[in-house]
């Protein structure tokens, strides 16, 4: 008999057995009573929406898409995906100008780069903030990440591209908007670490923003277009050139691997396993005995690791933390895994500011209490949020590795 052998349907919501565990771990519910909570917005609501689409509630937009409900669920229900899919399917509101601006991170980045000093200064001006607050509903208390004068891509082409051919092994780097427009140093650090490990680093043929902000702001068609484009580029790297793709942003990588197929229905099955974070790539090499990293003896820092929500969902914090723990002079502290409240563009919106800062408060308190040199995290929006809300600078683990690495000794050790 072949009936009902594997009762796992595409409609994953029906695996929910109403145990309510997800509701305990939703960071939004305690702070925003308009959000119906993950159980009701997710699996319960989905059943009602199948009965009548009018059961779709606009308040689903308060979901951070942090996926902490999914991590907690003992039944493997993709609660966050259900909520986001419902928004994609049922929301008829056209995105506001603000949401379009916040969502188009690469467009805005491209426009801002040539005028970086001006833009950075302008975004700090009180009148500008007031206008953004009242007209665009971008909260005036929010500190904007500043734009770099030179993008990572143009730095790479000028200063790094050529040398990459000298390596025997190669990877492609999905740098993401943040490393490109706001903080090219992260990309430079990645190149430094990978080169020391014996890998040439290449850009994808053409990289577009992963689209995570487009998805959360309801610009699904644009997100799908960019997603398809990215997967095609990734496929050329992975399939045609046998170059795996690594990244330094947990959100970008998570989006490429999981949100594309689950929310945008972009088939990435043939390449998904070869798209990952640089820390996971390095960890695997070390775990398999293929790589040895040597660190500077004079490096002394106290660093706490913050597990970004998407990192929690990926389950990959262990790679970044294991690498950090390998640095002999690094005094490592693991922060409690909890949402910082920013969730990409969510925290920028005026209506979410209070919720956003409320969610992050316990984390900020813990960080301030520890006497740290750095907080390490794999997510750039967590970095903005923590830097804005605490006094501690935040670094990507790759940047800390780059800072602590003894490049020459590492090259020698792997020769």
């Amino acid at each position: 008999m072949n009936l009902q052998q594997y009762n796992i349907s595409e409609n994953n919501f029906e695996q929910c057995i109403k145990c309510t565990v997800c509701t305990v771990y939703c960071p939004v519910v305690p702070l925003n009573e308009d959000f119906p909570g993950p159980k009701h917005a997710g699996p319960d609501g989905e059943r009602l929406r199948l009965k009548d689409p009018d059961f779709f509630e606009k308040s689903l937009k308060y979901c951070l898409n942090c996926k902490r409900c999914e991590v907690a669920c003992p039944s493997g229900v993709r609660i966050g995906d259900i909520i986001q899919s419902a928004r994609i399917k049922h929301n008829t509101d056209t995105p506001k100008l603000r949401d379009m601006l916040l969502a188009n991170t690469d467009f805005v980045g491209r426009m801002s780069t040539p005028l970086a000093p001006l833009v950075n200064m302008t975004l700090k001006l009180k009148p500008v903030k007031a206008v953004m607050d009242s007209v665009l509903k971008i909260d005036h208390r929010r500190v904007f990440p500043s734009y770099a004068r030179q993008t990572f891509e143009s730095w790479y082409r000028k200063h790094a591209a050529e040398q990459q051919q000298n390596f025997r092994k190669h990877v492609s780097y999905f740098h993401g908007c943040y490393a490109n427009y706001n903080y090219p140093q992260l990309g430079k650090d990645l190149v430094k670490v990978m080169n020391a490990a014996g890998y040439g680093v290449h850009l994808l043929e053409k990289e577009k923003c992963c689209g995570v902000a487009l998805i959360s702001n309801g610009l699904i068609n644009q997100a799908t277009r960019q997603g398809k484009h990215n997967i095609a580029s990734i496929r050329r790297s992975v399939v045609e050139q046998d170059m795996p793709v690594i990244g330094t942003s947990s959100t970008c990588i998570f989006t490429l691997r999981d949100e594309y197929p689950h929310l945008l229905h972009i088939d990435n099955a043939d390449v998904r396993d070869r798209v990952e974070l640089a820390t996971r790539f390095l960890f695997r090499l070390i775990d398999e005995g293929k790589l040895k990293l040597v660190f500077r003896k004079d490096y002394k820092k106290r660093v706490a690791y913050h597990t970004a929500c998407h990192m929690e969902k990926l389950g990959w914090a262990i790679y970044s933390t294991s690498l950090l723990r390998m640095i002999p002079g690094l005094d490592f502290v693991m922060l409690d895994s909890q949402c910082c409240g920013i969730a990409g563009t969510y925290g920028f919106k005026k209506e979410n500011y209070r919720t956003s800062q409320g969610i992050g408060a316990p984390l900020f308190r813990q960080i301030e209490s520890l006497g740290l040199d750095y907080v390490a995290t794999d997510c750039e929006t967590c970095k903005w949020q923590i830097e804005m809300s605490t006094s501690v600078p935040v670094m990507n683990p790759v940047s800390i590795l780059a800072e602590a690495l003894d490049v020459e000794a590492t090259i020698q050790a792997n020769r």
């Binding site: 052998q5 145990c19 509701t23 009701h40 389950g315």
Partner: protein, 416 residues
Amino acid sequence: MKFDTIIIGGGLAGLVCGIRLQEGGHKCAMVSTGQSALHFSSGSFDLLATLPDGTPVEHPLEAMSRLESPHPYARIGADNIARYDREFPEMMKRAGIGLTGSATRNHYHFTPMGTMKKTWLTLDEFVTFDEPSRLPWHRVVLVNFPGFLDFYTKFIADEFEKAGVSCTPVQVTLPFIEKLRSNPTEMRSANIARTFDSTGHIDELLRELKPHCGEADAVVMPAVFGLSSPAPLEYLKEQLGKPLCPLATMPPSVPGIRMQQQLTKHFVHLGGTFMLGDTVDRADIENNEVKAVYTTNHADIRLTADHYILATGSFFSRGIIARPDSVYEPIFDLDVFYDTDRSKWYDADVFAPQRYMTFGVMTTDSFRALRKGVELTNLHAVGSVLSGHNALHEGCGGGVSIMSALHVADSLLNDK
């Protein structure tokens, strides 16, 4: 990734085993699909309330001799159980969890319905009794928050009154809980508890509550205090000036969640690696020995260890999975005890002993897992994934998890 021991399943059995092993110097990793059934715990652990033949048990240790293999207790042995009865509360204390009770004699505590339930160990925050229906109070106030539907004041008052205790119902209205109530679904115990985690909120509760407590001998309330630490509860107890009698609520259970978090933290604090939200999908097995396991998140990156422990639970946690015609163990395809005739899985009375509850993996007397009748040398099974017992009917679920976990952990530690 290399560990001494990999524990599959982060529920009660997995955590107890992991903590014991970490304390003994093993380097452990624990992989847990999601949060565990501890989230529904009523705040106590049962050891043995009824023998399989239905005889009620007052003195669990004495009754152990009447169980036969494959019952896990028969395999562990009464002497070991007596020893763990002494050692387990000590271990829990090190994790910050205080427990009352003894395997020599069962005690009683309140159910969410206000009835009495026989049990072995109960969290210190609850009130326990040596005899059912003999309460040390004449009058109590029974407190609830308007609109909290998972706490049944009528039923509870009814039971108290049957026991000769007069019950004054009190509804406490607090602005921060009213705010919660404006959401049609989220008036849940854990969310209420979270509001009380904020400073000052317990004081507001006390201000509302105290005027009602004048004559009462005790204050009965839903157990909605202290989600992430016992501090709010301790503060409430200290300030109330009357005995506080919290009653467990319907799921989610605040004391259960706190216990899970404390155990997890303790495990991590001892150096254990806890992988939440990940699932072990398959394993490499060679010559009846597990060589590695693979998880969803770590994909091709193998998790390897000298020993593996299966603590994946029963049907609820998918430790075993029922198809219409069979029951299987999804990771290792271990031998599972079940009946091939589905109609024999169930009793028509939902409260009668259900046979499906006794299904689980089959092991040797030392809890080594069996696969096609052959034992896997480095894979042990612990907790409710085990066959040979009916956790509900015998009132032995928590006990089997704890005892088998400690027993297997000790056997691995002694092995070294």
